[in-house]
């Protein structure tokens, strides 16, 4: 199964396989690989269907506003933090042993408050403040990492506890009040729309300044570095990785720290978008962890670990964003938010069923 975790470059198998089964397992891995490749193709097809469908609905006057390229570009606002957090979940879920991070929402709140204090109250310049915010995220993620990788807490428990703890500290930090003084409001300029050319609709700036670098770096890390290869190995099989002389604990610790870093970056984007550091930014509604986990699973990440790709997660995030944007236009008032819940839940269950089915088929073929 190891090869399934590592498209496009096949990783060295942690455990050498006996000769007789080599042919069969490569056929098996090719099949599983195909299913995973199909996942991205499937998501792209779904994405096209959703966009065309809503575009036609809009053309025929069924929507409250036009579902055109300007609207699609503007709706990418919510895509940026969502996608960054989904990538965080990708990394921790790939790390295996029931990897999950429920605390990303609370990290967003707490790191966002840190940014608020730094520039809103202590008048730090923007760049060092952003750097420290991301470091705060890294620290909070590292605490998760120590608890999970070194002390041995199950990820669900450790991040449930820190979800409570970080969220509580964020609320207490400024007496439950947001920080939105002038310098914090000025951060909004980080997320203004950019007008490149008349032919391209204005898209949010953070797409280029935050999301693109994050996606590229995460992709390079997972696919082009030793650390990435180790992460997939650890997620696939703890014990085999230990025998292959991989520092299992260090690798898993790194995954949770990376998740904290990404949540810190998401915090900067969210503070900028709202022009305000809100202590409950990451916990409104059902919180931010839930949609992020949903998108990761929709993107083909397997909860058991070792399987998941950046491309799948990014396309899944885009699909959810534009689907939600369409639903927003299709229903009046609060109906739209209700149908967004429905769409998210249905997508999650169906994609998980698909994951389970394709894995079973792969096993059956082997």
């Amino acid at each position: 199964m190891t090869a399934t975790t590592t498209p496009p470059t096949p990783a060295p198998a942690p455990v050498p396989e006996p000769r007789g089964t080599a042919g069969r397992s490569s056929r098996l891995s090719r099949l599983v690989q195909l299913v995973l490749v199909e996942r991205v193709a499937l998501l792209v097809a779904l994405l096209v269907i959703v966009v065309v469908w809503f575009y036609l609905l809009g053309q025929n006057g069924y929507l409250t506003a036009a579902y055109d390229s300007d609207y699609l570009a503007a709706s990418l606002d919510s895509f940026v933090p969502l996608c960054i957090l989904a990538l965080a979940e990708l990394i921790v879920m790939v790390s295996g042993r029931g990897g999950i991070d429920l605390s990303v929402g609370s990290i967003v709140s707490l790191a966002g408050m840190a940014l608020g204090f730094l520039i809103g109250k202590w008048d730090w310049p923007l760049l060092p403040a952003i750097l420290v915010t991301v470091l705060v995220g890294a620290l909070l993620g590292a605490i998760n990492g120590v608890l999970i990788a070194y002390v041995g807490f199950p990820a669900l428990i450790a991040t449930l506890a820190t979800y409570y703890a970080y969220g509580s500290i964020a609320l207490i930090s400024n007496d439950n009040a947001p920080i939105s003084s002038k310098p914090v409001q000025d951060v909004h300029s980080l997320t203004k729309g950019v007008d490149v050319a008349a032919t391209i609709p204005d898209f949010p700036l953070q797409l280029l300044t935050f999301l693109l670098p994050v996606v590229v770096v995460v992709w390079l890390f997972l696919n082009r570095t030793t650390y990435g290869r180790k992460l997939y190995a650890v997620g696939t099989n703890d014990i085999a990785s230990r025998f292959a002389n991989i520092e299992v604990r260090q690798t898993r610790f790194g995954a949770y720290t990376a998740s904290g870093v990404l949540a810190g970056i998401a915090a900067v984007v969210i503070v900028a978008q709202f022009a305000s550091a809100r202590p409950d930014a990451g916990s409104v509604g059902n919180g931010m962890a839930l949609p992020a986990i949903t998108i990761a699973v929709l993107g083909g990440v397997v909860v058991a670990g070792g399987v998941g790709r950046v491309a799948g997660v990014v396309v899944a995030a885009l699909l959810v964003t534009w689907l939600n944007a369409g639903i927003l236009l299709a229903f009046e008032g609060s109906d739209s938010s209700q149908f967004q819940l429905f769409a998210l839940g249905a997508l999650l269950v169906l994609s998980a069923l698909l994951n389970a089915w394709s894995q079973r088929r792969a096993r059956g073929a082997g």
Binding site: P154, L156, I157, A161, Y163, Y164, S168, L290, Q338
Partner: protein, 331 residues
């Protein structure tokens, strides 16, 4: 894993202890906390405050009874909050619009919970999906269903049909809320069931190793569906407790319930990895969370601190357990 005792452990401990170490520790912590609070404040040890604690903890304890079974099988159910919302909006509208008696309301609530829980169980057992993913999905779907039934407004003017399980005077027997009596009775039944009956033991076996359990002739799928269905039924009962006092049911009903319940179960010593845990521990865990919530209010501390304490309790409870497991392995 410890539930299926190895021969070595059986020899060391010939009679199964009725109370596990973690439960004993919780009793001590609770007793100490109550003692300190009774001496430190003159408002804590009053019958109304104690009754309040029991009442506020009852729904968490009720759902926790089922959640213990689910977690013992190695699963989890994060959709209980949304299930509670569906139960509450349907039952609240039912007793407001057609004035049905207490028993009918309770039966309807349990039936709805049973259906919602069974859907989770079927998806987990037959769909082969990881429980946390299934229930994250149904968390959204059930919330959607509840909000559709709410029709964008809260349900107000709910009559006090269910006041027998509600808070305050009519809902109490011997000064203790009926809701808490209910939690204790159902908890005791479940405790006996999970401890002494074969089908109850099966949950531990499944949590320990599902493949081995299947080979040992356990109907893994049936038992899994049962655990989630029972949790749903108990959510139905808890929903009745929530609307017991009548009045208002709001659209955010049940939001966050899953986390308090899971916290209570885990603090009570149930292993999230499955195979180990007791209902008694869950009831004690729920009481501990309720006591701390009440204490923070009485001491005039910030209410946001409650969550910090819950987080610390979870880490302590599981940390102690991890340390013990390590000692056991090295011994």
């Amino acid at each position: 894993m410890a539930a299926i005792a190895s021969p070595a452990r059986v020899r060391r401990r010939p009679v199964a202890r009725a109370v596990e170490g973690q439960e004993l520790a919780l009793v001590v912590v609770l007793a100490a906390l109550w003692l300190v609070l009774s001496i430190g404040t003159d408002t804590f040890f009053t019958s109304s405050n104690i009754s309040n604690i029991f009442f506020s903890v009852a729904p968490i304890a009720l759902v926790g009874i089922g959640m213990t079974a689910v977690i013992v099988t190695g699963g989890i159910d994060v959709s209980v909050g949304s299930q509670a919302a569906v139960v509450m909006v349907v039952v609240a509208k039912l007793i407001r619009d057609s004035a049905v008696p207490f028993v009918v309301a309770l039966v309807v609530a349990v039936a709805i919970g049973l259906v919602l829980g069974s859907i989770n169980g079927l998806l987990v057992a037959l769909g082969g999906i990881h429980p946390i993913i299934v229930t994250f999905g149904t968390l959204n779907l059930y919330r959607f269903v509840a909000l559709r039934i709410f029709e964008n407004k809260q349900v107000s003017g709910v009559p006090s049909t269910l006041q027998k399980v509600g808070g305050g005077g009519p809902g109490e027997t011997l000064g203790v809320p009926n809701a808490w009596w209910l939690a204790m009775v159902l908890g005791a039944l479940m405790w006996v069931y999970m401890r002494y009956l074969p089908t109850g033991r099966h949950w531990y076996a499944i949590g320990g190793d599902p493949a081995a359990a299947r080979l040992a002739g356990i109907k893994v799928r049936t038992r899994l569906v049962a655990a989630y269905a029972i949790t749903g039924a108990l959510v139905g009962v808890a929903g009745c407790v929530f609307i017991g006092s009548g009045g208002l049911v709001q659209q955010n009903a049940g939001v966050g319930l899953e986390l308090s319940v899971i916290a209570a179960v885990v603090i009570g010593g149930t292993s999230i990895l499955g195979g180990r845990g007791t209902v008694l521990g869950t009831l004690l865990g729920a009481l501990l969370v309720g006591t701390v919530t009440s204490a923070i209010t009485l001491l005039g501390w910030r209410s946001e601190l409650t969550e910090l304490f819950i987080g610390v309790f979870i880490l302590t409870a599981v940390g102690v357990d991890l340390a013990r497991a390590r000692r056991r392995r090295s011994a």
